[in-house]
Symmetry: C2
Subunit: 124 residues, 2 copies
DNA sequence: GATATATTTAACCACACTGTTAATTAACTA
DNA sequence: TAGTTAATTAACAGTGTGGTTAAATATATC
């Protein structure tokens, strides 16, 4: 059941509904029913409750109490851990710099250079 | 079954074994058995194959052929999409600036200001 | 051709995930 | 008190995930 926090965060983010809910929460607090509204044509309210529970357990949102309402707010701290984890890969995706890409880019760079010389003065 | 690419990437990352495999691949190509080695006390080789398949389907690695070996290499491009998605939340986690944090920070900022001004004999 | 090595596929199992509908809890309102 | 609204819980079903062991495949080597 209980996974490591980073895995839990990634798992929580691996769903478009939940990501949309987080996006909504960047604009401010929202009740469950407010968060649910864009999805009620697709799924029931209990389904929404479950999604929110996943986000809550991952620490990405916090539910507070206000009468019978449950305003939710974004808690983005877990995303910082994701960002930190991602840092070690930045150099690999920037400029398509993975292992294969590194090699292929060198090759295509040469080809483009050649092509440019052939069609001198012409663009794209 | 087939989810959107971003969800697939997040799901692939939601497992410590798979993340460790990616980390290993930042040091260069590795065969399946090389990638498997640190985990063989915990799981079987077919389990490793499955994990690699998840990473492959998410586009995070690519398997090539070399005799009976299957060297894998990191393809970090999908991580760029993750990074891009995360950008919209950066302001929320930097300096603990989620909605609640924002409010509390404002309050404490005022309190600090007040405390400071006390020494100058002024209050807001 | 036979055998060893590297890896995958098949068949299976337990359990977690995502959804459902119906019932329940909690708080406000007439 | 009764009724309405907001949200959750319960019970259930289908599917996906992550693991297993045993068998199959592919390539190299003897």
């Amino acid at each position: 059941m209980s996974r490591d926090p980073l895995s839990q965060t990634f798992a929580a983010l691996a769903d478009p509904t939940r990501r949309a809910m987080l996006a909504r929460l960047t604009e401010g607090r929202a009740n469950v029913s407010e968060l649910a509204e864009p999805f009620l044509d697709r799924m029931s309210l209990p389904a929404v409750t479950k999604h929110l529970k996943v986000l809550e357990k991952a620490g990405l949102i916090e539910k507070t109490h206000n009468a019978q309402f449950r305003p939710c707010e974004l808690k983005a701290e877990p995303l910082k851990d994701v960002a930190d984890w991602m840092e070690q890969y930045r150099t690999f995706w920037e400029a398509g710099l993975d292992r294969l890409g590194e090699y292929l880019n060198t090759v295509t760079a040469r080809q483009k250079k050649t092509a440019k010389r052939k069609h001198h003065g012409r663009k794209k």
